[in-house]
């Protein structure tokens, strides 16, 4: 610090060096307005098929994206590019479906005869791109971390961003494809295991990218992408062995507006819990290898500890919302907001587990390896709630049987 003394004494007016708090700027407002305008256009286009709740969800999403853009400006690029590509694809589908639905064969024929759709835009092709890019990101991140290549890490991030982009494109085209096959089949693609695995992958990847930016450190990418990779391996098996990617109509119980918000909220939770567990693994590895040092490849233990907390806190908040939404949906579909159905009960178990984790950390000040192990254990409980319940237990949650 080398400010001359006189200056300070003589009525020196300092310009603050403090980081400016994030104010709402013109761009933020414009962006939010743009989102609302797009939602408005969507509303005008589809108003007949939107009820009160759906309209609320539409504009709520627009506001949410506006907020997200403010918190994390990079998402605006993602939203913009996804919007352009998906609009193009949907526009093509609209032309195809101008005279009504074309059926599975009609759709397949169109996709096979159009280069762009065969290789990029059909939901199956876009999903494959997502899978491939995410897979590729795993070794990229790991190798780059190992050889300390900053450039390599950036490539890793780029792969994840692009993969997420394709994931969203797949999501939107799949949504349109359902209606193209048969108006009755159309639904938001979060209704079976195949679809929610895509949601899981994209959400987890994006949440990770957020932490990557927030902590300005990319070296945990390999760990997080690994768990995404594992889930995508399952997705591939599910697609090729069980033909899970085939678009089927909804079972009556799922035909509800609640599904649209209940499922995504859940996956913010699942995603962050997965991240916390993977960071927990990185934490334990680093700790075994001697802890913090001057030449670290991974973030400091304190930072990794903090990421776990931040991730679990965010996940806990969203999981709470998701569970409440689930209860509200159940109140409408089954006659009671809480039936102790296995899926419901396991959601509660997951929630209680993280509530205990948070209390331990906050009120008892627990840190370090125990909490890291607990994060990892938490993922097992979460996975059971997500998959195990559907595989091993019976209940009212009818989707996603294997």
């Amino acid at each position: 610090m080398s400010v001359p003394n006189e200056q300070m004494v003589n009525g020196y007016q300092p310009t603050s060096n403090l980081p400016a708090p994030r104010h709402v700027g013109l761009i933020d407002v414009l962006w939010t307005v743009a989102m609302l305008v797009i939602a408005g256009i969507g509303y005008v286009q589809y108003s007949e098929s939107l009820d009160f709740y759906a309209t609320g969800t539409l504009f709520g999403t627009a506001l949410g994206l506006g907020f997200l853009g403010w918190v994390w400006p990079a998402t605006r690029w993602l939203v913009g590019v996804v919007a352009i590509i998906s609009t193009f694809a949907v526009w093509q589908y609209n032309i195809l479906g101008a005279d009504g639905p074309v059926g599975r064969d009609g759709l397949a024929e169109f996709q096979e005869s159009t280069f762009l759709f065969t290789y990029f835009l059909s939901s199956t092709a876009a999903t494959m791109w997502m899978v491939a890019l995410y897979f590729l990101a795993i070794p990229t991140y790991f190798i780059a971390t190992l050889v300390r290549s900053n450039y390599g890490l950036k490539v890793g991030s780029a792969l994840v961003w692009t993969g997420s982009l394709m994931g969203f494109v797949a999501f939107f085209t799949r949504w349109r494809e359902g209606y193209l096959i048969n108006l009755d089949y159309g639904h938001i693609p979060v209704s079976n295991l195949y679809e929610v695995f895509i949601v899981f992958a994209v959400f987890t990847a994006l949440l990770y990218l957020y932490y990557e930016k927030r902590y300005n450190n990319r070296s945990l990418g390999g760990f997080v992408m690994l768990i995404i990779g594992i889930s995508l391996a399952f997705l591939l098996w599910y697609q090729f062995d069980r033909e899970a990617h085939v678009i089927e109509p909804l079972v009556p119980a799922l035909n509800s507006w609640w599904m649209k918000i209940h499922v995504p909220a859940n996956f913010v939770g699942y995603g962050t819990f997965a991240i916390a567990a993977m960071v927990g693994i990185a934490y334990l590895i680093k700790q075994k290898m001697g802890g913090d040092g001057p030449n670290d490849r991974l973030p400091s233990l304190a930072v990794m500890d903090d990421i776990q907390y931040k991730a679990i806190a965010l996940g806990f908040a969203f999981f709470t919302i998701a569970t409440i939404l689930g209860a509200m949906w159940a109140a409408e579909a089954w006659g009671g907001y809480w039936s102790w159905d296995p899926k419901e009960t396991w959601a509660l178990i997951v929630w209680l587990n993280y509530a205990a984790w948070l209390h331990m950390r906050l009120t008892k000040g627990w840190r370090g390896p125990v909490m890291a192990w607990w994060s990892i254990g938490g993922l097992f409980i979460t996975s059971f709630a997500f998959l195990g319940v559907n595989m091993f237990l019976s209940g009212l949650h009818s989707y996603g049987e294997l």
């Binding site: 003394n5 903090d306 931040k310 209860a327 907001y337 009960t345 396991w346 509660l348 587990n353 331990m360």
Partner: protein
Amino acid sequence: MTSQAQTARKRRRSLSSRLYTWLTSMNLAIALLSILAIASVIGTVLQQNQPVNDYLIEFGPFWYEAFNALKLYDVYSAGWFVTILLFLLASTSACLIRNTPGFMRDIKSFRLNAQDKSLRAFRHSRQYESDLSAATIVERTQEIFAQLGYKARVKEREGETLVAARKGGMNRIGYVLTHLGMVVILVGGLIDSKMYLKTLNMLGVVEVETRDLPVSQVPEESHLPPGALAGFRGSVNIPEGKWGDVAFIGLKDGYVVQNLPFKIEIEDFFVEHYDTGMPKSFNSKITLTDKETGESIDETIRVNHPLRYKGYNIFQSSFGDGGTELEFDAWQLFGKAGTKQALEGTVNQERSFEFNGEKYKLEFRDFSLFNVNPTEGPDGSRENTNFGPSVTFRLRDAAGEAIEYENYFQPVEFDGTKYFLSGVTPEVGAQQQFLFIPADRNDSIETFMAFYATLKDRDEITRIAADLVAQTPQGGQGGAAQSSAARSIAGMVETFVEQGFSALTEQVDQQMAERDMPPEMAEQARESSFRVVQSVLMRAYMETLQDQGVEEFGDRDEDFFEKALDVVTVIPNYGSPIFVAPTGFNHIQSTGLEITRSPGMFWVYLGSLMLTLGIFMLFYIHYRRLWVLIKPADVNDDGESTRHRVVVAGTDARKNIDFDQAFAQFSDELMRQTGSNDQNDASTTPGKG
């Protein structure tokens, strides 16, 4: 007051205060969260509220009793489970009571009595010297606080000045909201739970009914008048065209009847389907009539779209057969085949009849309008085909043995041929097997039955055999040899028809063996025997066709012949003396409604809202305090100081690393603005935890 009384009081107080301390301890809270989680697992692993027999079979009598004693078959309303919940409720409430006043006081306070020594002992603490006047330092400090969004107070103390600031008091409100929300949810949930009903039952006010009775015969002690329970969840099945005004609430191993203040009449139940045959929605057209006002409401309810009326909610939850009326032909298969009787029946009811002096009972169990099955399309692709309506029934003989059948109304096409299907399940749990009876040109079963009747008619077959023998070169002359040949052929045909092809083979082999023929000759004789039987069957078939008025014999008829013989050979294993050919139905369904009242729901939702808001406030509002203490470092002759020592300290309730950064930024900035050139940093920021 005696000293004895005093000590007793003391001890009592200390006991209750010890209890209070225990209730508010974090260890208990975490233990309760974990115990609740673990206890919840049980009910998901062990299927709840199944019939007693299922458990008995699965666990055996000993473990059945053990688990039953622990109430593991209905964990979530077991006393011990509810006790855990109540403890959680008590513990959370106690925590709130204990912490809230302090927290509220805390967020109002600026902690203006912080001392130099304690500030320097903070984890986030720093000090430096400044050449500025105390007033200037205070002013600049306040500016920075304002910029950072802190509220600040200045306190002049003996020879020193303290600027104390805080921010994020809402975080503490978040604590209150979160935990109060949890309390409100638990209370709301308990209002809607069966706890109250169970208490009534325990007190003997309400009795559990275990018998399967019509509502009108359920004794009064098991009826609950409307409004007796604040919240309940019951269900009821009502057939189309009928009405109901009660709901059944399962309790222990039986039920109680909740009377409703309205009648629900079911006009229609219908299922909408996708083109794949998958159901798209389940709907009931209902008319609700208020008993008091006579007001009535027509509504169609479906899954996800309940009807709400005066605090009652009516949901579509299941469906079943409400007594579909059936018409069917009972074709005789044993004895005098080919005759039929047109009968009627009703699903969920029985029908006794006598046949050849034997008593039988038909128990109609179910009817389904659609039977969509995956089939393979002509190009081998996956398809879904609707086989049309079917009826499931059991045929019980006088000894009480029963076989279950599922017969289809309409013929179903496989590989170009249409068949009447009859599924047989010989014993419970066995694989269903199908009889494929070919349909004739008119898509009717008549031809097959007529053909079968001919085959079973000994005289006819003997006549046909005689005709055939007469046509052979050796035949013509007639006489005893001829009729004995015809009789033996007829005998072979009978074996085939009554016992199947393998029995016929055996019989022929035996005859060959009796005649002691050389092997080549035997083989030839065998072949010709089969040929002869075959021609008799064929002739019988042709005559049947003629009787049916068919003139031209085509490929299709030949095909029919083969398929019919396939059936004939398996009929002996079919197990039924009659064939029930369903011909008509009047589909009557019943709808399963879930009827609930949940006054606690409002509280649960309110609590959920508080919980959600509270959690976000807890996580995303940082509750922070900063202090800047300015002390004179030297005192000149006028008693004024030209240099000051500045102590900076801060805390964050969360102790996360973000505060390391925030504190460093703040103190750096403060030092930049007020520090002197020659820094003498006494302590440094704990940059890394």
